[in-house]
Subunit: 385 residues, 2 copies
């Protein structure tokens, strides 16, 4: 096993890309990442994607994207783990390079959700939950998260309004991210008036349906300096799983998959939460942000919301989260999200996060969640001095 570095990153703006095809989205992100890395070829391509079948009527996107990006011939597969697909694909790329099975691997997360063929995108997203025991009972994805949020409020005595800081922070950070879908401010007052989607989840607790693609280029760390002026080392990479259906979990308010995944990544990196300078967490709904902070060791059980209320999650705080807008305000093109998170951590560690730069960021954590917590992939990235 050898050290792996990220030597190039690329992304498209997140939004409703009615005029850009699925394959073009993937291409643009890949081209940007490969240009950034200064490489024209790769040994393998892994595509993170969840909904190409349901939304585009297209599977087999590994070969499709490889050919369209000028990489015809190389190994190319799609890796899927619902909304965790992006980081799952990255994890496979990491495994290939770390294990010396490949030298240069490109990973792209791509999702086009606005073209929905299937009844609608909400139904397609329900495929991340248990089709027989959740979706078939009518539970959409927002409904499942609403159950979680309701339970969290009941157990720990929070109000709906206590979740406002997550949206306020994410939108504030998105304002300085040219690739964010919603670069406008949200106030606590506006949060209070937000339209209810599924009690107690409002519009401003929810990430949007959108399109986007992000890509990274991986190479052995020992070769990275020669290839990149600003390489970033992958210090930890790990995945964990939990029951797919919420009702099968040991404790619905503990993301066991995230706990396991974070612990494995921390152990590999030889660090703990106290060493992390920023945390790109999976705020698909604000309840997920709270539970992620707890599962990754930044807050005790029931204290994730408290951390946000106490003003600890801002760029200058001890636990900066969603520094470029997060899923809430950068956007959540589901199978692409895990790669966007990592691209943003790399921007921070390179010192290229502009107005949102976390001072002297050295170690960043990215955690991508599939479903309501059934698959969780954690990556720890470290600036190479």
């Amino acid at each position: 096993m050898r050290d792996v570095a990220i030597i190039g990153v690329g992304q498209t703006k997140v939004g409703e890309h009615w005029d850009v095809s699925f394959r073009h989205l993937a291409l643009y992100a890949l081209q940007a990442a490969m240009a950034d890395a200064g490489v024209a070829q790769a040994d393998a391509l892994y595509v993170g994607n969840m909904l190409s079948g349901a939304v585009e009527g297209q599977e087999h996107v590994g070969a499709l994207v490889a050919d369209f990006a000028g990489l015809r011939g190389i190994e190319a597969f799609k890796v899927e783990a619902a909304c965790g697909s992006g980081a799952a694909a990255l994890r496979m790329g990491y495994v290939a390079v770390a294990g010396e099975m490949a030298d240069v691997v490109v990973v792209v997360g791509v999702e086009k959700m606005t073209d929905a063929l299937a009844p609608d995108t909400t139904s397609a997203l329900a495929m991340a939950a248990d089709a027989d025991y959740e979706a078939a009972q009518g539970a959409s994805f927002v409904a499942i998260n609403a159950l979680l949020m309701q339970r969290y409020m009941y157990e720990y005595g929070y109000s709906r309004q206590d979740f406002a800081p997550f949206a306020v922070n994410a939108h504030r950070n998105a304002m300085n991210n040219p690739n964010a879908m919603f670069p406008f401010p949200v106030t606590v007052e506006r949060f209070a008036r937000a339209k209810m989607i599924c009690e107690p989840i409002s519009l401003l607790d929810s990430s949007p349906i959108c399109d986007g693609a992000a890509a990274v280029v991986l190479a052995p760390a020992e070769a990275a300096r020669a290839l990149s002026a600003l390489p970033v080392r992958v210090a930890g990479s790990a995945a964990g799983t939990d029951a797919l259906a919420l009702h099968d979990r040991r404790d619905p308010l503990v993301l066991d998959g995230a706990v396991v995944s974070a612990r494995r990544a921390y152990e590999q990196a030889g660090i703990g939460p106290q060493d992390v300078d920023l945390f790109e967490l999976h705020d698909a709904f604000s309840i997920m942000a709270a539970l992620s902070l707890e599962a990754a060791g930044f807050a005790d059980k029931g204290q994730g919301v408290r951390l946000a209320l106490d003003g600890k999650i801002g760029l200058e705080g001890p636990v900066p989260i969603t520094t470029m807008g997060g899923l809430k305000a950068r956007g959540h093109p589901v199978g692409a999200t895990g790669v966007y998170q990592v691209v943003e951590v790399v921007q921070q560690l390179r010192g290229l996060a502009g107005a949102n730069q976390v001072p002297d960021a050295r170690i960043g954590l990215a955690q991508n969640i599939g479903g309501s917590g059934a698959t969780v992939i954690t990556h720890i990235l470290e600036r190479m001095e």
Copy 2:
């Protein structure tokens, strides 16, 4: 990089499993493989599957199957490459073990095609082709293969009937496979009378829509002897790609992805076609069997059908193919097929193929194809003396 062995295999019967759920199919194959290997735990699970979203309304089957199989917590992803998904998942497992990133990895290929939610399974299968430039023009998967077969007949002067030996051989071999869907004989006369599906492809050129699951357990070869009485070494593992759409290929009658994939696997194993004792090829349609024989080096261009006509593909011939019935007669549960092929090669190398035993089989080749040749994964397996 270290040597990898298969220490356990399992499969369900292929057929129309109206009374068995998707998760149960996967479970049965996994349980059989893990019992065969004598292991109760694993470091990771990779699931090969193409159609769970379209047919079952279920994505995120990595976590689903892991939990249902008693492996909650471990890394688990779905790997997709259309009809090549099974071997793609196996390839990811191989990469993880060979690169010392995992010790025991379980791989299951599972597909349930008969439950179709979407308009129909034929439409779902068309997602393996180019959605914008093939499927949107009305080209179903059988139509794409019919174009290929028509062109092959035109270029090389064969008749439709010349393809009969592929079906005859596959069905004869299926008669001794208790897991085959169609264990009955097909004669050349019956082939001549077969119902036309899409000129020149008849029912007896075509693999069926069906359900099934197959699984393998991978471990380091050095540990394999202690774990298994009959381990089989993975001597070569490689993937290759080509353009997704037929009309974008360099030469539609050459499976460039298969050529590349086979060459890489041969190089890794240090062997050539002349060293192969049996070849489990991807006979989704009989034209694919002919093109596979050519791409993998067993016949010159245009001579794949000739090889079959000359009686070379039987169990006693120089190039035994589809020894347990192949996709045609064992069945082709698409995302599971690549794992079935490998399970059958293992049966042969273990000397446990019963009446279909290839005498003194030492080296077997399994080649799994996604789409009409856009993704091809080749595995070379070798008996451990």
